[in-house]
Symmetry: C2
Subunit: 354 residues, 2 copies
């Protein structure tokens, strides 16, 4: 504790319910998770919200003024460049200047990524950052991390290989899977199945001794719990993620329509109220926790645009878990091993060709 | 009726529960939907099943012997070529020889597609066939057709344009949507979003006056009911379809675990039994009906490998609906219009360049 307490910079202005829900969630996280929060954004607005929500003053919050905001309609790279004092940029600068250990934002995810890339830079050996989303599986208390869910719409096989490596580390050190099983999202189990990208990636993953590759994962396997890490390009991943989020609502809607039909239905539904609430909670969990931006030189959690205080709380907890488990250093060290072994291979190859 | 009664060739040997469940479902469909069924496969086995299930002899079934079967493990094209007397080939030949109006198979879907391509050929103007799956939406009694869900893993924009055209016709004439809304599966609403394929396809769809293009559909929009037709490449489509099928089971599993908890839960669950059955039915519906193979010169319905008699019944009904609504002729006529207008454009262009 003390000097090693996690310090998390929160973009207080990002998200559909910013700043109020963001500030409320951040204060709760600081108080309950024993960490410092730096709330970045319009000081006047945030100060009054801190006063409202931190009545007991158990949270450790500091407000850092940022005069600008990137709106959802802005083109991310342009916005980030034109507005150096936007809240997401100021938050990112805190990490760059080692005044914070992580950034959490529920704002424009493209802008958060652009800001992280420009301000923190990429990790050595990672060519493209990836957004990793943690989803619940059918096995209670078991999650799967899917990456990329939207950072890269067109991918090369080696990007997916790098995603697999980063996902493995996250699964092992943050989600606690000692032997994570990695899957490649594909349309069949056989190695001969798939589009050009999947076919080439399959070979790379199978040949990489750092990656515990189990094989192809079909759409039906995403939530089966058989895989701990699933890699795909950001186009497919984003569609699956958004489909998954929506289908929870579809299911709740169907239940809402069907359960109260008839007198038995009405009585039964009243009796089942607490259980239905638990079901809703399990289904909703998919949207929680925020997604980690992998491959940049800092910890950056992207939370859902519709985040309210509960989601913000969970996103900050995800940031803390990544900090506490030293994910960044572990990714760096694995990457260095990989790069060294690749160099050795290249040297050996050029030596043998002499 | 009489001479215009639909005649449907059923691959009795295809599927995990063939021939028994297939034969049982086909007999039920013939009796209840007023159509002729040609059961193709091992005559001896099928004869005894017909005796077992057609006890009242209300169904009109004929058994056509086929001495071979394509197994799930065979490479489709090789299997289809090596085994001309495989049940799927014999069934396809019945359509080719105008002895049947459609083929239904729950066997190897790749083999069914290869057989259809080799025996029936492609429709003029369609470069690649597509598999179209009809999914329920959140709006009661409203479906959406998604294509391609697995025939083509790597697509060109013009393939997706052709899929959109065929899906529009199906939606209009079979699903009864007078003004179908077409969506392109993508990762954002804006036309600037997407991978290379999506960007190029967006432009083609927007420029095609035959296609009622509403815009991009995100993962969350697939089941929203806002779109009647959604086009995508077969890689993404297959993953989304299999994910959708599995998530129904996940939801039922969560309900099974959570609902009976506590005494209120136990009593409530007993009371709700009929309603829960209705929910299961609504969720299960996603797997029913079979998928239509679009773009080949004949009607071919691909049913789920795990089809039991209920799914087979629904697949045969889908075939009948396609026949009754003359889908094939309508696709041909739209295509001819399109090809003519393209020719006119080309001629006009070459005339103006002279």
């Amino acid at each position: 504790m003390g000097l090693t307490r996690a310090r998390i910079a929160v973009d207080a202005m990002g998200g559909d319910f910013a700043p109020e829900e963001i500030v409320a969630g951040a204060i709760k996280a600081s108080a309950e998770l024993d960490l410092d929060v730096l709330l970045v954004g319009d000081k006047q607005q945030i100060d009054s919200l801190v006063e409202k929500y931190n009545s007991k003053e158990t949270a450790s919050v500091e407000v850092i003024h940022a005069e600008d905001v990137i709106t959802m309609k802005e083109e991310p790279l342009t916005g980030i460049r034109r507005k150096p004092k936007a809240s997401i940029n100021v938050a990112m600068d805190l990490v760059k200047g080692k005044k914070a250990d992580a950034v959490v934002s529920a704002g424009h995810s493209g802008a958060a990524m652009a800001s992280a890339l420009l301000r923190l830079g990429r990790l050595k050996g990672i060519e493209r950052p990836a957004i990793g989303a943690v989803l619940p599986t059918i096995i209670p208390n078991k999650s799967v991390i899917v990456l990329d869910v939207g950072a890269n719409v067109d991918c090369k096989p080696k990007y997916l290989e790098q995603f697999a490596l980063m996902g493995t580390i996250y699964s092992k050190y943050v989600l606690g899977n000692e032997e994570p099983q990695v899957g490649l999202l594909n349309i069949g189990e056989e190695s001969s199945k798939g589009n050009e990208l999947a076919l080439a990636t399959h070979k790379l993953l199978a040949d990489n001794s750092q990656i515990p590759f189990l094989g192809n994962a079909e759409g039906r396997d995403v939530l089966s719990g058989e895989f701990d890490v699933i890699v795909c390009d950001g186009f497919v991943g984003n569609i699956v993620l958004k489909f998954a989020e929506a289908i929870g609502e579809v299911m709740l809607q169907i239940m809402k329509e069907e359960l109260p039909k008839g007198w038995r239905g009405k009585v039964g539904t009243v009796l089942l109220k607490p259980n239905l609430r638990d079901i809703k909670r399990r289904i909703d969990r998919a949207e929680h926790g925020g997604a980690l931006l992998f491959g940049v030189a800092g910890i950056c959690i992207i939370s859902h645009g519709s985040s309210r205080q509960g989601s913000m709380f969970n996103a900050i907890r995800s940031a803390k878990e990544a900090i506490d488990n030293d994910v960044l250093e572990k990714i760096k060290s694995y990457n260095n091993q990989r790069l060294e072994s690749e160099n050795n291979h290249t040297e050996a190859a050029s030596a043998s060709s002499k």
